[in-house]
Each structure stands twice: as C-alpha cells, then as structure tokens.
Symmetry: C2
Subunit: 157 residues, 2 copies
Amino acid sequence: MIRLTKQTDYGIVLMSQIAASHGAQFTAPELAQETHLPLPMVSKILKALTRAGLLVSQRGAKGGYALAYAPAEISVATIIAALEGPIAITECVEESEEACSYEATCRVRSNWQRINQAVSGALAGISLEEMAEPWKTRSQVPVALRPPAPRPPAPRP
Amino acid sequence: MIRLTKQTDYGIVLMSQIAASHGAQFTAPELAQETHLPLPMVSKILKALTRAGLLVSQRGAKGGYALAYAPAEISVATIIAALEGPIAITECVEESEEACSYEATCRVRSNWQRINQAVSGALAGISLEEMAEPWKTRSQVPVALRPPAPRPPAPRP
DNA sequence: TCAATCAGGACCAAGTCGGTCCTCTTTGGC
DNA sequence: GCCAAAGAGGACCGACTTGGTCCTGATTGA
C-alpha cells in the first residue's frame, strides 16, 4: 500500500514536536514522553535523523537534539527521504538504473516518473513549519489539484 | 517506504495496456505476453480489478477482459484504491476510526489528513488515458505544485 | 569520577508480499 | 451434447521487511 513506515510517521511527529518549540533542544526521553512513543524507537529515529543531517545532536550530560534548519526550510519530503531514501513510488523510478528488463516494452515507464513527481511535489510543498501547527488555523488551498477528480466509478452490483 | 506494491504497479501497467487499444478485449495470456509479466500474477490482478469494477470480464471461450469505463474516466488513484484499498499514507488517516491512542496529544494528526489529500489529489489528477501514451508527447504542466519547493537542506558534512 | 546522553549495532518476532498452483464454473464451437 | 478455452476463487509458501528491544561503547558536563 502507499504507506509510510511507522518509523517515518514517528519521525515526522518528532520533528514537528521539536519544531513547535523554536530552536529548543530536547533529549530523547523528553520527546518520548511528550509524544507518547516508546523511547527505544524515538532514540533510533532521532539517530537516523541526525545522521541524515536534519537534526544536530549534543552528546553527554545536558545533551540533546535540535533542528539543523529552520522549520520553514524542511519539507515533509525531506524528512521522508532522510528516513527511507529517495521517494520512489515504484522500483522503476529508482535512480539506480538497474534497467528493468521490460524497459523496452513497458509503455508506462515514462509515466511513472510523472506520478512520482506528482507525489513528491505534493510532499515537498508541505513544510515542517506547517506541520507544527494545527491545520485548521491555516487558510490554505489544498496542495495538489486539478479540476474535480474524475469521479471514481461506483462499485458494480 | 512510500511505495506501491508490485501488484498495484502491474495493475496500472495492465490497465494502461488495455486502455491503449480502445475498448478491445484481452485474455489474461495475451496481456501476460504483451507486458512480459508472469501469467498467474496477471490473472490474479485482473480478477481483483474485475471484482473492483474497473474491468468487465467475459467468461468461457472467447472470453477476456475489457475496461468498464473510458480511460479518461479512470484515474490512477482509482486503480490504486481498487487494488490496495483507500489511500492512507498513515494509519491515523484511515477511515476506520480506530482511535489512535495518542489522538488527544498528537499535534500532527490534522496535518496527516492534509498530506494524504495532497498525495491522493496528485494521483487522482492522472488519468489512465494519459498513462496509456508516452509522457513526452504531452505538453503538460506537472500536476502537483506550489511555488519552488523549499530547497532540501544539503547533506551536512 | 560519575551520571547523563548520544552512537551504533545486533537481534528477533510478526506480518506482508510476490508468486504459484489447484479446483470449480461458465461459455462458445464443433 | 461434449469438449476446450477462459475466468473465479482460494489455499499455500518462502522470503523479505518492519517494528521494536537491548546491549555495549564514546562523550561530556557537574
């Protein structure tokens, strides 16, 4: 299914939590408590985000994690990419030019790129800053659109 | 990762193949041959698409599958939904109101809806008709947009 | 020196996916 | 009326991915 892993899900929650207190530094246990997520998981994810360069860490006593960039500069797409690699809706859009054997005959190949761009464009259009505050308060138009989506065929009797 | 299952991937390929020959009827073996996908898989997927109402099937000798709607009326989102259920980027946007236990404290809950809408909007904006022909030939603007996506932070040294 | 923190793996149970196969039912042609 | 071609519907299994835990270091401030 088109679904983020829980790790990424949690990662966005954590980043949002940090973003909500501008520039503050949090320890893993603090974040685990505030988000009600299991500490080992939180710790694991924070490490990954640090390795990816989205967080900066301070070791030792009085240590913790803080954002490496302003919330407005970090998009949801970036966080996803940090935790699970480049967004690739399908194997055949992955950069690894591992030549899918059907490439020559596959008529949709080029269109996968397009779908992928649509999705990652949508995700790149949402910043951490926006994630940190409830949606309601924002007067926003939805990000991706095109006239009324083709009405989904009703389930046949 | 944000990735479609192969079943869905193949499903879109198959639907596109059928769409490319307007209204024609194909047998599973024919489609397997044209797309170079394993027959049992093809068969399985066609059955699922039929059950979902996107294809109509004709049993018996001279049987086969054909589209239930015009290619322009079927969106990629519809196909995905048919094969793997409603698009839900995260557990907490699933309709089943299975009350995630953190709901009260989760600050991003409402924003997941938004991400989900962005993604499904992007997918709903691409029709099967477009998938059936190579991208190059179309003079299209990308589907999902918003001004220049916030530049992704460069990987830190 | 010690306790608090982060870093980096190893490890495992459970679930999901990709793929195959088998047995029915339906239908058209001879 | 019989047979072959085709779809319908499952059962089944191996392999991989995920979610989650735990352990052992390395740093650093008090």
